[in-house]
Symmetry: C2
Subunit: 419 residues, 2 copies
């Protein structure tokens, strides 16, 4: 019996999730898409039909839903008989959608950490502030809740698990590097929801170093990386979701996240931050209107989905892992390269949305077939990585491993490593 | 009989006007200050008392007024028996305040051109779009309406008139140069209302060249100037109010305005403009709230009045005039230098507000004593400049003339030139 699927959200990532789930609707059953704005859901439905993404004829419906409303979400889960809910709406919805899943027994999936609208970057580990408080409730109810099932967090957590299990006896450091070497041709745009994007970078930069949380400022630490396909790139030490679970679940003293930024992005970000335009706290205009500057900024910036048609170039996201194997120092880079134009050709998305959305669809398939139907809350590194990475390779995101200057697909390496 | 005075607005310029009028309340009578926010008017009243600016004991009252409401403004003019209204509120109020003056016979004064909230920089000459349409009404009612009585427009218009009358047989060009060489120590701030400041620079740059309107883009033309006191400075060809009346009232083929901008200002401006944050057109947030980006930007930027305590350095604003006198080429620079710290010490203001507000107070005194009580609408260059410039010298803004490398105060030159 197929589980039926409810996708919450109708942005760029939801678009990808809908398309990739539609490509496997024989295993997922009915697909329902719900967000505040019905028209955005309908546009995704239309796109799935236009691209012919449905593997077989089946239900694909759009719904209007305020997912902050737990009762309404619960009702929609029951009405659609959804057994898997993929939450790719705003970062403010996680806890209410999870609650609706607990009430209905549906499995829960998301791709980013929960945030409260009026607070930014709370004390580490972030998951402990919200999601992990519901661990026992999930276990008691037997509800599968998979947190952070995008690319980063998500696939990079599986890379970390894979490295620890299969490549090293001891891991000393994991540096996650996220480079978008693509060009969208606009003056300035964020690659996903501007509100979430900027909130990531306005607080303290937390990293896990020497087995403890270390605080830094944004753009304080810069490092050059020489990466496959995209070549030499600058990236900056950045706070990111996955550090907050990997640090707790793996025995690795140094886990850092590095994100690539160009000079232009940094200049625009710096201006906006210093002016106060990135603030999530309301201000009052001379006319007496109360507004949140960050929400206004979001309104004037391009919709990330609108970047897709002209986006050219590639992303490279991966984990540089250092440690020891059989008494000798080892260093590998586990990574994926994704092409913006290929993603657009396949399903009308740019690669940032594509890399975030495909893993969520893959995770749903692993819940549907039982592989990841664990009946409890889990971050990705707590789940077996190989079924996930194999499935992703077949769905458009291939994993490669660079070692000693040689790049090989993980699939080709599997035999020798597993042996 | 003293006329009684109503000041509309409670920003930085209104603060200066109130103080300078208080210093001459023996000639102006009661002083009333009105704006949307009563507290801001009350703060000005308190400041006037604290600084001991009132020349003699007298009425100094704060009022709440929405000056877009013509009836309410008319009622307040009648209630206060004000015979002079100084409009130093937002640029959107001119036409409604002028209408209230026409209804009551009170004299009208402002310091900047009228603007409509939803349009920026209309076709030249700007005054013809709004103010000049009421010329006949003013003449018919015998209402004195003096437009643009700040520094620029205002004092620089008087400089232009003075040069044409007293220094040249033929004027070929007038370049008005506005340099603020002061430092406020904040990351970024505008020196007057951000909304008005940015609107000045987002549209076409109109200048009067070869006897016709010439269009350019902001920051397209840059020129180095070697000025008294402030030294070498870069300034950019900029659109400005005074070009739109000087071009019509003086027979001068080239009239240009140059404003000094640092690299940092230009960078911040460029980022904000390209993002759409300087737009006066409303946008809708994801939550459905309709907001004008420029008004939100204004809300996050420092209040220009708040810059005063730490502002250091000087402004230099003047007219470089070229032409012919007695058959020989002549070039003079007529200018004022104003010190931020001196302005703050005297009345608690920075020099940008000071240079804009003192001339409005001086113009009110010239209406009160009959010198400028012309019973019609006039721009400053249509009025005798010397009484204005003499009065300004006694009120804190001295005019200097540089010629052949020598700098002399206008007062000292008056005898020889007038002879």
């Amino acid at each position: 019996m197929t589980p039926n699927l409810l996708i919450i959200g109708a942005g760029g990532v939801a678009h990808v999730v809908a398309h990739k789930c539609a490509q496997h609707n024989d295993r997922l059953g009915e697909i329902h898409i719900a967000s505040r704005t019905l028209e955005k859901c309908q546009a995704i439905v239309a796109s799935v039909h236009t691209k012919g993404s449905l593997r077989q004829p089946g239900v694909l419906h759009a719904h209007a839903l305020d997912a902050m409303d737990i009762d309404a979400t619960e009702a929609l889960i029951r009405e659609t008989a959804a057994r898997i809910v993929i939450n790719v709406g705003s970062a403010f919805l996680n806890m209410s959608v999870l609650e609706a899943c607990l009430r209905t027994g549906a499995a829960y999936l998301d791709t980013a950490i929960h945030e409260e609208p009026d607070r930014v970057c709370e004390a580490p580990p972030w998951y402990a502030n919200h999601e992990w408080k519901r661990r026992e409730a999930c276990a008691a109810a037997g509800v599968t809740a998979i947190l952070g099932a995008g690319f980063d967090p998500g696939v990079v957590n599986a890379y970390a698990r894979l490295a620890c299990d299969d490549y090293f006896d001891r891991v000393d450091s994991i540096d996650i590097v996220d480079i978008n070497a693509g060009k969208h041709g606009r003056y300035f745009a964020t690659n996903f929801d501007p509100e979430v994007n900027f909130r990531e970078f306005t607080g303290t930069v937390w990293s896990w170093q020497g087995g403890q949380w270390t605080a830094a400022q944004m753009f304080e630490y810069r490092k050059e990386w020489d990466l496959p396909v995209v070549g030499r790139q600058s990236a900056y030490l950045t706070g990111h979701d996955e550090l907050h679970s990997l640090s707790q679940h793996l025995d690795v003293p140094d886990i850092r996240f590095w994100m690539g930024f160009g000079e232009h992005y940094i200049n625009v970000f710096t201006v906006l931050k210093n002016l106060g335009m990135l603030s999530e706290q309301p201000v009052r205009t001379a006319e007496g209107q109360e507004v949140v500057p960050l929400k206004v900024l979001k309104a004037v910036l391009p919709d990330p989905a609108s970047l897709a048609p002209t986006y050219a170039g590639k992303t490279c996201i991966g984990n540089l892992v250092r440690g020891e194997k059989d008494g000798r120092a080892r260093e590998i880079f586990v990574y994926n390269v994704c092409d913006h134009a290929d993603s657009y050709r396949e399903i009308g998305s740019q690669a940032i949305s594509y890399t975030a959305g495909v893993p969520a669809a893959a995770a749903a398939l692993l819940i549907a077939d039982g592989t990841w139907r664990v009946g409890r809350m889990a971050n990705i590194e707590q789940l077996p990585p190989r079924p996930f990475l194999s499935l992703l390779a077949s769905m458009g995101l291939e994993t490669w491993v660079r070692e000693d200057g040689r790049d090989m697909p993980l699939a080709a390496l599997a035999d020798s490593v597993d042996a």
